[in-house]
Amino acid sequence: MDRGKRWRERRRIAKMITAVENALPGHEQILQEIYKKTGNAYVIGITGPPGAGKSSLTDALARGYIEKGLRVGVIAIDPTSPFSGGSILGDRIRMNELSTHPQMFIRSMGTRGQLGGLSAATHSAVMILDACGADVLFIETVGVGQSEIEIVKLADTVLMVMVPGLGDDIQAMKAGIMEIGDVFAVNKKDLPGADKTKIELEAMLSFLPPREWRPPVCMVSAMYKEGLEELEVAISEHRKFQADHGRLEQRRMRNAQEALLAILRDKMVLRVKSDDRYEELLQRMMEKTIDPYEAARQLMEGLDSCSED
């Protein structure tokens, strides 16, 4: 089936995402079937502090790609309440005009207890939209603080959206979030202090160890649709740089590794927990008659001896 046709089966795509998000029966088969068809979409991670304009900028950039005739998927993540388990997913508010466009597919996800700025099923949702025909995929993280950097594992290009007025240059010097941006956008460029924010970002970037790619800092306004072309060019340049230097392959290798390890971890934990000795060993740990390393070693031995799934 061609990618365009799969893309039109919107209910089916949506149902597949629901299945993987909730680990419904059959979700593994879905991922097994689509896996070979993945790898065609270019994945752009959009991250930045709450209220920076990530959704609005995603909307504005998506428009550009749609006008070029490309199919655009958006996965927008918002936080889940640790108390009620509920959430308000409000990223679509900024993307309403595009929501009926046939080249566009937007899906909101709650973090559901996952830290790091993404949800546990984000990677699976990316694979589904990719396999179903997306040319460009945006992953919009939750509003981030200083260390939600999971997005680097999934995105080909990380766009860091900043705004003026969030702090001085010391904030920009801190480790973590500021180190993962491939392209920086200073949104709300009409606000006072936007130029200063750009200068501080440039200064911060100058102090990074010399790399072959120096992240550009673009001044934009998602609201007034200014600076968007330059931003799109910067993203394209990063994409080209990565392709020319074999970086895309490296990133995708790392993604493959992450995906495999995540599944292995889940399966091993499930199997170990089903071991009769699991509870008993836990109890012995409570009584301090065994240490966790020895308990783990014994449970690992159990893994070696049983070969069924």
């Binding site: 919107r10 309440s81 679509r92 929501s99």
Partner: protein
Amino acid sequence: MQRPIRVLVAKPGLDGHDRGAKVIARAFRDAGMEVIYTGLRQTPEQIVAAAIQEDVEVVAVSILSGAHSTLLPRIKELLKEENADDMLFVAGGVIPDDDIAFLKEKGVAAVFTPGTPTTLAVEFIREHVKR
């Protein structure tokens, strides 16, 4: 964690009174639901497109403009066209009692008028959502 109920809270029509929609969205959130909130002035097409893409189990619309007898049946129609008729469709807002029978006939499962405790809407959804 138990799978949360996914609800689309949308506001069709041209009035800008979204306090009710926000209060109900917040109540659903606090009841452990995943609420997709799409904001003001949505067309039936936008609402249904969002419902499909988000694969919600409930479409909850708030309307205070008086256009309910036109817009709500249209939303239901579009849901049917998309084979998404299994989604629970409820409405709230300033809707005269005289219109409620008509709306129910057109496929609106429940109409919550001003003064309805939010817990009632939550209970209704929990009881009627198809799993």
